[in-house]
């Protein structure tokens, strides 16, 4: 290894293609989020040109806000999908968490922070339960979390009805601690006349944190390897069980965070809320480059996916198109973004 004396015997230096240096541009385009980023830019320019009211700072801030409410959960959902699992219960888990906090502190007339803490414990427990059933039984997470999705939906309604004799949680805005909690979970600040919601900042922080974990820590490597092939990962010593349960609990954590935002933004929670949102999170992750089969994807991609979804939703309204056609336009634009995404990824792969 240290000697170069035999250099004359080796064939001319054709380097192994696995360690060949690719051009910076080719490497950039091979990143999972590049296709989605291009799609986001195209859609942004599209609305920027056709919708005058899309151009002002206030509209961008609203787009970012609605994207952040999807993006906060799309981030752990992306990690979970890279780890090879689904969570269909995430949307209603947000409502469960908010209802837990609200009803707990209302019923016992406690400081809202107690409710917030109890909700955190409950959300993490739901995540743990999802993960534990998945790793213990080997049943696909699609089915396990479908079960917990319906169970949580039922619990949300039934427990709220039993406890309050109504289907919405009571207004908790006059309970001690509400002000400080609202400041943390649902406030905004103004820069240059544009109102920025704090959820946008949290979203960015969580995306950066998730990206750091994925790309710079051994936990990140483990997530990729677990999603690529769980048996092989286990064979090389990756703690597969703990990784998977941990990923489900990360979803629980962000469901709690999003739930607290919803609670302190709107004071009351309707128990039927959140149904359908689980797909928005998965859509954001997949549009952002996560594979449905696991082992590939990125947190930044999921954030861009959430941004595309939020931007398209708002853009159609800001453009003033016929509201009857809303979902058609939404679907068409999403499909367009995905086609562009796939096209760019194929080109990037062909260029290797």
């Amino acid at each position: 290894m240290t000697s170069t004396a035999q250099a004359g015997l080796t064939p001319p230096p054709t380097r192994d293609e696995r360690i060949r240096r690719k051009s910076t541009l080719a490497r950039l385009f091979a990143r999972p989020e590049m296709g989605a980023l291009t799609g986001a830019i195209v859609i942004y320019l599209f609305f920027f040109i056709i919708a005058p009211s899309f151009r002002n700072g206030g509209s961008l801030s609203t787009v970012l806000y609605v994207s952040s409410t999807y993006g906060l959960l799309a981030t752990p959902i992306a990690l979970l999908m890279i780890g090879g699992e689904f969570d269909l219960s995430a949307g209603v888990a947000v409502t469960s968490s908010a209802l837990t906090a609200s009803l707990f502190c209302y019923e016992f007339t406690l400081n809202v922070w107690v409710g917030v803490a109890v909700a955190l414990v409950v959300s993490l427990a739901v995540g743990f339960l999802n993960g534990w059933i998945v790793v213990r039984t080997g049943i696909p997470s699609f089915l396990v979390t479908l079960g917990t999705f319906f169970m949580l939906q039922g619990l949300n309604l039934a427990l709220t009805q039993t406890i309050t004799n109504q289907v919405a949680s009571p207004d908790i805005s006059n309970i001690a601690g509400f002000g400080s909690a609202a400041k943390i979970f649902a406030s905004s600040f103004t820069i240059d006349g544009v109102n920025i919601r704090t959820t946008v900042i949290y979203w960015i922080v969580f995306v950066l944190l998730a990206t750091w974990i994925l790309l710079r820590t051994h936990i990140g490597n483990w997530i990729f390897s677990v999603g690529g092939s769980a048996p092989s990962a286990r064979a090389v010593g990756v703690p597969v069980t703990r990784m998977k349960i941990g990923l489900f609990m990360a979803v629980g954590l962000m469901a709690w965070f999003t739930g607290m935002h919803t609670l302190f933004e709107f004071n009351t929670i309707q128990s039927g809320q959140g149904v359908g949102l689980e797909f928005v999170y998965i859509i954001a992750a997949v549009v952002g480059g996560c594979l449905l089969t696991g082992g590939y994807g990125s947190a930044v991609g999921a954030a861009i996916g959430a941004f595309i979804f939020g931007m398209t939703n708002q853009g159609i309204v800001l453009a003033g198109w016929d509201p009857d056609w809303f979902t058609f336009f939404l679907g068409a634009l999403l499909l367009g973004a995905i086609l562009l995404n796939t096209f760019i990824r194929r080109r990037a792969e062909a260029a290797k």
Partner: protein, 334 residues
């Protein structure tokens, strides 16, 4: 795999307990709210009947709480075993009606959001000799379906009344916010508003995703940003109105807010002036009358309305009468 951390867990539990005890709120919460006394009108000594109520309520909609409270109050008074079920999918709702027929209940109260799907099953119930009353939805078809009575408001008439009142208030550009796509009664309300406005003003529709509060807020904000000429927003449900308050302020819009239907929190917003008025169809009355009329029919052969629609709305709740309504709303009966 998980190491035991029992001492730590114990310490954490004690800490949580201590915090909980120290964290009682001095304001708000259940302690502060007056315990609502349920409406009671005595108890009938008639035979115990079983009535089924089957509605198209979406899970978790506050409006239907009030209908149910009315129905349970009547059931308690009339010595009724009350069975409630609901499904917002019309074919599923028809199946629930069939279930009630199979269970040989003594009476059925039903809503009819989709006559094509619901009517045939309602006819079967009538053919099986079970008295059927209809309420809340189905105002145009209840007689053909074989129902004996109808309690509710005509949504087009309600929309018309709201539109006329909006025109009188000087609204020129009205935004009608629908929380679901393709629902006949919601479309009828907006159409009625447009008709009521007449040449005084214009109406445009906006669909929002009613199951996602953040999206509702952002979509209305976007619309108000896009069209600065909107000077009136009318929502078709109380929870949506509460969210629209935030949208109007974050879009810095000058639009005034009006709504259909009520709940306790919304009524407090009428009091504070953030909502101008609400079109009230008296859901408590609908639920109460539906059950009570079945009982009257079985015990005395009565039919309320004499074959005509019994209208429970539209009434308006505004600053002039809100104080009176508010105390009933707090206990969940208005």
């Amino acid at each position: 795999m998980f190491r035991s951390r029992k001492p730590a867990v114990g310490a954490a539990l004690i800490a949580i307990l201590a915090l909980t005890l120290a964290a009682c709120s001095s304001t708000g919460g259940k302690k502060a709210s007056a315990q609502a006394s349920a409406v009671s009108a005595g108890h009938a000594n008639t035979p115990r009947y079983t009535f089924a109520m089957i509605t198209h309520a979406a899970p978790g909609d506050t409006f239907w709480d009030i209908i149910r409270h009315g129905a349970t109050a009547a059931a308690a008074k009339d010595n009724i075993t009350f069975k409630y079920s609901n499904n917002d999918d019309p074919t599923q709702q028809a199946t629930l009606i069939q279930d009630a027929i199979n269970a040989k209940v003594d009476g059925i109260a039903v809503t009819d959001p989709d006559p094509q799907a619901i009517c045939p099953t309602v006819k079967k119930a009538a053919a099986a000799g079970i008295p059927v009353v209809m309420f809340n939805a189905g105002v145009n078809n209840w007689q053909q379906c074989g129902a004996m009575e109808y309690f509710g408001q005509d949504e087009t008439v309600a929309g018309l009344a709201a539109g006329k009142r909006l025109a009188a208030a000087g609204a020129k550009q009205v935004l009608c916010v629908l929380q679901a796509q393709g629902q006949v009664q919601l479309e009828a309300r907006c159409a009625g508003v447009k008709q009521g406005l007449g040449s005084e003003g214009a109406m445009q529709k906006l669909y929002v995703n009613g199951t996602d509060s953040s999206a509702v807020q952002s979509t209305i904000t976007a619309k108000l940003t896009q069209d600065k000429s909107i000077d009136a927003v009318i929502t078709l449900g109380a929870p949506i109105a509460l969210i629209a308050i935030q949208s109007i302020s974050s879009a810095s819009s000058h639009a005034k807010l009006y709504t259909f239907d009520t709940n306790a929190e919304e009524i407090s917003k009428i009091k504070s002036g953030q909502v101008q008025w609400a079109v009230d169809q008296q859901p408590y009355l609908q639920g109460y009358e539906a059950i009570d009329s079945l009982w009257l029919y079985l015990t005395n052969g009565d039919a309320i309305g004499g074959g005509q629609t019994v209208l429970t709305g539209p009434a308006f709740i505004d600053s002039s009468n809100v104080t009176k309504v508010a105390k009933y709303a707090e206990r969940g009966t208005r």
